[in-house]
């Protein structure tokens, strides 16, 4: 058993600690005896065959460079998802997984449409949605998700995407409907940016199991010593103003 993990445009979509997600998935698989191959995908490169694809966040300029490159990979990405591959988009990566991003200056960035969501930037007068956040996640066994969000765009879900969770503290997709993130099948997007997985080990393992299912069926992952991860999880929730029980 092995895991193939593709990081899409890591030199452009790495605004704030996005490599933490790669390091955590890699380490948590390896500690279960599952070798991991990390495949960085650069601009203009073909999409490698992988079980899990990661997209991080970037500034406007980097997003604009990435959008057409991602668009070119759309047929291969769709095929990968049909084969059961997992896709996780964080912050800017989440926006690009949707249909489109309407920027503040009126320009439009086309997304790959793997998630039925649309993002609009209401203009630079509107406040950015910034701060610690905690979310009650709807996925089995994941519990709470904690992290930090920082986005100008407001994302709205269509009929074919479900929210990843309900906002306990923070803004979430748009600051209005109390939803955060989106998912459909094996595709996930969230505004909890940068190193989301280090302090959400349950979500990291959820993604690992799902990704391994593509080639190896249901896999049991042995428990790891997550004392520090849980302590960081509880502390992050506390800084967001949410009290969780136990560490």
């Amino acid at each position: 058993m092995d895991l193939r993990l593709a990081a899409l445009f890591p030199d452009l979509l790495n605004l704030y600690g996005d490599r933490g997600n790669v390091l955590v998935l890699q380490s948590r698989a390896r500690r279960r005896g599952i070798p991991v191959e990390v495949l960085p995908v650069g601009l203009g490169h073909p999409l490698p065959d992988a079980d899990l694809y990661l997209l991080g966040g970037g500034e406007d300029r980097q997003q604009a460079l990435v959008a057409p490159a991602l668009e070119a990979l759309r047929p291969q990405l769709e095929a990968a998802v049909r084969s059961g591959a997992v896709v996780l988009g964080v912050c800017g990566g989440y926006q690009l997984l949707g249909h489109a991003y309407y920027a503040a200056d009126g320009s439009v960035l086309r997304g790959v449409g793997l998630l039925d969501v649309v993002t609009r930037h209401p203009g630079h007068r509107a406040p950015r949605l910034v701060g610690n956040a905690a979310v009650a996640c709807v996925l089995d066994g994941v519990g709470t998700l904690v992290g930090f969000e920082n986005h100008g765009g407001r994302t709205w879900l269509g009929a074919n995407a479900r929210p990843l969770g309900r906002v306990l503290a923070g803004f979430g997709n748009n600051g209005r409907d109390r939803t955060e993130g989106a998912w459909a099948g094996t595709v996930f997007g969230t505004y909890l940016h940068g190193p989301l997985l280090p302090k959400n080990p349950a979500f990291a393992d959820y993604l690992l199991r799902l990704a391994l299912r593509r080639r190896f069926g249901d896999v049991h992952l042995s428990p790891l010593d997550d004392r520090w991860e849980h302590a960081a999880h509880v502390r992050a929730a506390e800084r967001a103003g949410v009290r969780l029980r136990g560490a």
Partner: protein
């Protein structure tokens, strides 16, 4: 003087006396808030009274040390200097500094002002301060929760530089592509940079922010990297590259956290400097100060005296004895700065480390940046590590995934308890390296002051 201005000055001075009398703080911010509320144009009005004008130092890293060097060189040249030495670099802090330097009639007891200014604030105060000289140090990722995006800070700078007077000079870091891009078209400019390629390395760190040419969207090609994205670069598509610096550092030799030697050269002048300031990043601070001195016409001897006399600023490498152990405090604010501190530490026999991560507004509320620090480069260290602060647990997880030995890491939320633990794990007479974020550094100094050790920062 309009009564409103007189009232603002008087109220500001009174607020300073009160906040010191009641030990609320150092009086570096509150007087400015009060005075600015009464007279919103006070900054412009007071700055206008500086006969030799204002010097502004801005950028992500190096502001405090560079401003101290420039102020010290100006003093060595015989000028009276008003300077926000304690590092209060937002508008209220700038006003406080000037209010306290003015007499009751609003006359400044100074010839020239030296102001470190927060990099996102600079565009808002450039018009009021009307600086004769602006020093741009560098632009790294820092506190994106406040500034949103590094690019937006650069856009603000570009606009601010266009509002400067025609004879204003811009000193800028030629080795930082984003800074050079902002400043290269300024009508009067002095570029500075490190020439000695031996002082650098060949690869970029992960945290490098700018690697794509602003004109072409093509990655820059680097011949050498000194820190983060700072080095000798060229765009392979349009050929735009590092401007040739007028003020240069050659023969750079860094001795870990204890200082460096280098030769500074400009216009046929060449001076050897010996500095106690730690790390390669301080070579840039000295270079920036040299460029400013050159632009201001300060004689090289005055600059040399300033460099040799400048001790590390509070929390920027200062050393203090406590309970038989030497504490060296090295502020860590962002990935680029943290990486440079780690690099300087690699040259030292580190036995014990104390790292404090807070997430207050002045630290940046988002601790994601810890994942951009290259802790992997020192994973084989055998040092004892004590982590503390409001986000101690985030750092513990980061160190664990960087491969640091878990059984050598202790987590204590309370700063003092953590410090006691770390001291107990430091050999008597040895050095405990203390790496705090900004507000953790202030808290550490305050708690040491209560123990009778450090000077409070407003007296520094």
């Amino acid at each position: 003087m309009p009564p409103r201005v007189w009232a603002a000055l008087t109220a500001g001075k009174l607020a300073a006396q009160l906040s010191r009398a009641f030990r609320i703080g150092g009086g570096t911010v509150v007087p400015g808030r009060v005075a600015r509320w009464l007279a919103p144009d006070l900054l412009r009005r007071l700055a206008r009274g500086l006969p030799h004008g204002a010097v502004v130092v801005t950028g992500t890293n190096g502001k405090t040390t560079t401003a101290r060097l420039v102020a010290s060189a100006l003093r060595a040249a015989g000028l009276r200097v008003v300077h926000n030495r304690a590092g209060a670099n937002l508008p209220a802090g700038l006003v406080s500094t000037l209010v306290l330097a003015a007499d009751g009639g609003g006359q400044l007891r100074a010839d020239v002002g030296v102001f470190e200014v927060d990099e996102a604030t600079f565009p808002r105060v450039a018009g009021e301060l009307k600086p004769r000289l602006v020093v741009l140090t560098n632009l790294f990722r820092d506190q994106l929760d406040r500034y949103a995006e590094v690019d937006r800070v650069a856009v603000g700078w570009r606009q601010a530089l266009q509002t400067l007077g025609g004879d204003a000079v811009v000193c800028f870091n030629a080795d930082d592509p984003q800074v050079a891009d902002v400043a290269r078209d300024a009508p009067r400019s002095v570029a500075f940079g490190i020439e000695d390629v031996e002082a650098g390395r060949e690869t970029l760190e992960d945290a490098a922010d700018v690697r794509y040419c602003y004109r072409c969207g093509v990655p820059y090609r680097y011949r050498v990297v000194f820190l983060s994205h700072v080095g000798h670069y060229t765009c392979p598509a349009c050929g735009t590259g590092r401007p040739r610096p007028a003020v240069r550092a050659e023969a750079v030799r860094v001795a870990g956290t204890s200082g460096f030697t280098a030769e500074l050269a400009w216009d046929g002048e060449r001076v050897a400097v010996l500095s106690e300031l730690p790390g390669l990043y301080n070579v840039y601070n000295v270079l920036a100060a040299a460029a400013a001195a050159h632009a201001l016409g300060i004689p090289p001897q005055a600059l040399l005296r300033a460099v040799q006399a400048t001790k590390p600023a509070f929390g920027r490498g200062e050393r203090l004895w406590w309970r038989g152990v030497l504490l060296q405090i090295l502020l860590v604010k962002n990935p680029a700065g943290f990486n440079e501190v780690l690099r300087a530490l690699r040259a030292e026999p580190v036995r014990s480390l104390w790292i404090a991560i807070h997430d207050r507004t002045a630290d940046g509320r988002d601790v994601s940046w810890l994942w951009d620090v290259d802790f992997e480069t020192v994973r084989e260290s055998k040092a004892w590590v004590t982590v503390t602060g409001l986000r101690a647990e985030d750092l513990a997880v980061r160190l664990k995934y960087a491969g640091w030995a878990e059984d050598r890491i202790a987590v204590h939320r309370d700063l003092l308890r953590a410090l006691e633990h770390a001291v107990a794990h430091t050999p008597a007479g040895g050095t405990l390296y203390c790496l705090p974020t900004y507000t953790a550094m202030l808290e550490l100094r305050a708690l040491l002051a209560r123990q009778g050790v450090a000077v409070a920062f407003w007296e520094d």
